[in-house]
Amino acid sequence: MEAEITPRPRVGVVKLASCDGCQLTLLDLEEQLLPLTERFELIEFPEATSRRSSGPYDVLLVEGSVSTPEQLEEIVHLRGQTRLLVTIGACANAGGIQALRNWADEPAWRAAVYPTPDYVASLATSTPVAEHVQVDAELRGCPIDPRQLLELLTALRIGRRPQLDGESVCLECKRRGNVCVLVAGGQPCLGPLTQTGCGAICPAYGRACYACFGPREQANVPSLHGWLGKELPQVQVDRLFAGFNAWSTPFRDPAERAVRHAHGNAAEPDAAGSGADA
């Protein structure tokens, strides 16, 4: 009923460097999908429709990190086309797993993957959207959580503040009745440092949280790092942070140590690389 009387916000969904998983989450809303299209006008969503629009948008959902010169131009242009810009997922929020290259010698990496590196245009870094343009809201996760996506759209429609908690994963883990995999299992779990929203999936499935929702407010990385370091070698603890949110400020130091340890910092002799080893 509301759907008719209020004008439908014009929504765009675009991607930069990413796996498409976060925008797929929109299609994964399944039974909500068609009701949503009655209330929001999907004017740009290349993965789902051939109907196109270059804006202007009321809301633009941006997936993926900025990792090529074209993407840098594109995101600046898109910011000008939209009233609200919402980044969805670890790539857009924190640079994604591909941000590990930010500490490595990118040309060497390119050479290692591509026999003829010159064919490939790429920035030396993979960076969050917010490092380049203003971001109005972000959905965390690798991938984002469908309930949070729905809450964001609902809040947008009702005009309330989206209920996206900043608490640690531990609260939801305990509410679910999981047994702590860190205290009882000795697994190196990042849940205490990680922003909630996933529903504490990993501990519920018997494994340690790997922080795919990124660091929560005031994440006390040094403390947990030090504690885990009592049982594990430092490089192993560092590697925990070299994941899908490695480039997020609180995780940077350990992540950088991990990358440098794994790759050194110069082009390696074997860099002619696996791409060509057939």
Binding site: M1, E2, A3, Q32, P35, L36, R39, L153, T154, R157, I158, G159, R160, R161, Q163, D165, G166, E167, S168, C170, L171, K174, R175, R176, G177, N178, V179, C180, L182, V183, A184, G185, C189, G191, P192, L193, G206, R216, E217, Q218, N220, P222, S223, L224, G226, W227
Partner: protein, 677 residues
């Protein structure tokens, strides 16, 4: 009867434990008991004794918990696991109700609890203590939680005395164990070949009668005594100096150790989640796409969360050290004042399940060690009802302390209709609403209401006047919910809950000079006092209203300010800054009080405004001769949900929404104006 039975324990052979379970099942009870799962002892449904964790035992240390198989027939050969019985008495998620909106119409439907009949099997002494603490917190007084009451009433307690302790146990020092003394229906103690069992209630008696076990012989009773004694002895060196701890702790609010522990604390909230007495909650909204149907649920929250203390006036505990201090001081100190007991039962869960092994026993020893002889007297904690001292009561508006000011725990708003909305200043507006239930008009000055729009979190708003069948609310459009008020049309419905809280003690001001100091929108909750004074002006002495605002344009109730001046109130207005067109005073509100003198005069002061303004005002008033017991402040900016037990609005021993928002400065003691409390 109970006594007799308790004094003559019986013996239940291990093989017959199922008979007890069958009895409980026959009573239509679901039995919840210990199970070994995912590397820990958890509480879950027990269908038969076979489900019990035979031969499992636990090892616990700060930040570490391990289960180990040992060659033993025992089924309860362990201490407490991660989960308390809180899980079943105050579940992680409880549906509160449904708020629906259809055009301008709204409806609120409150969920009614229908708990299962449960039997808790294997409740340890410390856990019984925790249940009794919950009773005081959630079931005692007018702020009782119906959901908790119902669940608790439906749960039978089968206790299990401890005959072994782990390194994290400290029940002995908290005086809660290992002996099971009360609060149980049946109490068992495990021996290798069975259980010594006794009844502790009529229901326990009845069950024991049906079970008809043989009498426990001397040897069996002796080994129970020995086992429990050995358990107690093993905890000798791992306790807390609980004697006088509350005063010591409140005396050490500035100990640098708070910062040191904050460097280790992850603020992950695990300690509060596993704590069997931590009760803080938050209310969440799940709305359909149109915000037409909104389900509200209450879920476990924690004072360690960054936004936990984000209330009407902002975030009052932004730093980790503030949050850790809040938790520890509440648990071990202010809890006593609030509920007449410690919040800690010594189960040690917060120690074992802290991901970085922070040990409260160590922190307490470092932060609040026993005083060196000669004992330095701790500064007395704030006195309840201090505000009444030195003020002879005169009957008029009955001034009611919090406890006789019941507020519902459930978010059951009643419907009210918007009569009008009108802008008051650039960022504030007036909202007139008519409650369907006239009882909501019975508000005393200084009280507030929760205004509830389906799909939004309810907003606490001080009542700025009650007149011609409507509540007059002055609202600052600061957030999404308040912003949404501005678009309400006359005739639109909202939810309303209240009036809540303790208002201004106007009756204490009868026959005395009255000093009213308001800052900015702080004038709103004070307007009813001015109305009340003017209603019988002759019964008060001199009345001064000192009103400070940011600029002339930010002043509320312009016309009324003049009217009051003409009606016998000295109205002194002062603004922070103004253009040349303003000929009135410029400066801070305290300048109005400078060089005034109430020494030897019988005066009472009512103050409301931003914290810093209230602090400056209070010191100015004290300089001018009004004592802290006669200066009343409204901490309305601390208010959040008005549920009375969620914990968000807590200041020291007070929940602002039910003990306040109005306090005598003497009540707040040195918590008034302190950072991060």
């Amino acid at each position: 009867m109970v006594i007799a039975a308790a004094s003559s324990p019986a013996f239940l052979p291990r093989g017959e434990l199922d008979r007890l379970l069958d009895l409980l099942h026959d009573d239509g009870r679901t039995v919840i008991g210990p199970m070994a799962r995912d590397g820990a002892i958890v509480y879950d449904e027990i269908r038969s004794a076979a489900d019990l964790p035979v031969g499992w035992t636990d090892e616990q240390a700060p930040g570490r918990y391990r289960l180990r198989q040992v060659d033993s027939p025992r089924q309860f050969n362990f201490t407490v696991g991660p989960q308390g019985w809180k899980r079943f008495t105050q579940p992680p998620r409880v549906p509160l109700g449904t708020a629906t909106r259809d055009g301008v119409k709204v409806e609120f439907e409150t969920a009614t609890p229908e708990p299962r009949r449960l039997a808790f099997l294997g409740v340890r002494a410390c856990e019984i203590a925790a249940l009794l603490v919950q009773d005081r917190v959630l079931a005692a007084g007018p702020f009782a939680d119906d959901d908790f009451r119902a669940r608790r009433a439906n749960a039978l307690v089968v206790a299990m005395q401890c005959t072994r302790a782990v390194s994290t146990c400290f029940c002995t020092s908290m005086g809660t164990g290992p002996e099971v003394t009360d609060g149980y229906d049946l109490a068992l103690t495990e021996l290798d070949d069975g259980f010594v069992i006794k009844a502790g209630s009529q229901e326990g008696e009845r069950l024991l009668g049906k079970l008809a076990p043989g009498k426990a012989d001397e040897a069996q009773q002796a080994s129970v005594a020995d086992g429990v004694a050995a358990c107690r002895a093993s905890m000798a060196d791992q306790g807390v100096a609980a004697e006088g701890l509350p005063a010591r702790l409140m005396d050490r609010l500035d100990n640098p150790r708070w910062m040191e522990v904050a460097d280790r604390c992850l603020a992950c909230a695990n300690c509060t989640m596993v704590c069997p007495t931590c009760f803080c909650t938050s209310v969440g909204n799940v709305s359909d796409l149109d915000g037409a149907i909104n389900h509200t649920e209450r879920r476990w929250d924690s004072c360690f969360n960054g936004d936990f203390a984000r209330v009407a006036g902002g975030n009052f505990r932004p730093r980790r050290q503030d949050r850790y201090r809040q938790w520890l001081t509440h648990k071990f100190a202010t809890w006593h004042e609030q509920f007449g007991t410690s919040g800690c039962v010594g189960c040690g869960r917060c120690i074992a399940w802290c991901p970085v092994g922070i040990d409260v026993r160590e922190e307490l020893a470092a932060i609040a060690p026993p005083y060196e002889e000669p004992a330095a007297p701790p500064t007395p904690a704030p006195i309840r009802g201090a505000m009444l001292d030195g003020l002879s009561p005169l009957p008029m508006v009955s001034y009611s302390p919090a406890v006789s000011q019941p507020a519902p725990l459930r978010a059951d708003s009643s419907v009210a209709t918007v009569r009008a909305v009108a802008p008051e200043t650039a960022d504030t507006f007036m909202l007139w609403i008519e409650p369907r239930d006239a009882a909501l008009l019975q508000a005393s000055p200084g009280q507030f209401v929760m205004v509830d729009q389906p799909g939004f979190s309810p907003v606490p708003i001080s009542i700025s006047r009650v007149a011609d069948g409507a509540l007059w609310l002055t609202v600052r459009a600061a957030g999404a919910a308040t912003q949404a008020f501005t678009s309400l049309e006359p005739g639109a419905q909202v939810g309303l809950r209240g009036p809540l809280g303790r208002g201004w003690p106007i009756d204490r001001a009868l026959g005395r000079d009255v000093v009213i100091v308001a800052g900015g929108i702080g004038l709103a909750p004070l307007r009813p006092t001015i109305d009340a004074v003017l209603a019988q002006r002759d019964r008060f002495g001199q009345v001064l209203l000192a009103y400070g605002a940011r600029t002339p344009g930010d002043r509320l109730y312009l016309k009324e300010l003049d009217a009051w001046a003409n009606a016998g109130v000295e109205v002194a207005q002062i603004v922070d800054r103004a253009g040349p067109e303003w000929l009135g005073q410029v400066g801070v509100v305290t300048q109005v009080l400078d060089r005034r003198d109430w020494h030897g005069r019988d005066a009472v002061a009512f103050v409301c405004g931003p914290e810093r303004m209230m602090q400056a005002t209070v010191s100015a008033l004290r300089t001018a001769g009004i004592t802290r017991r006669r200066i009343f402040v409204s901490m309305e900016r601390h208010m959040d949900c008005g549920i009375g037990i969620c914990g968000h609005c807590q200041i020291g021993p007070f929940f602002v929404c039910r003990d306040g928002p109005v306090f005598a400065v003497a009540e707040l003691g040195d918590l008034f104006g302190r950072e991060g409390v």
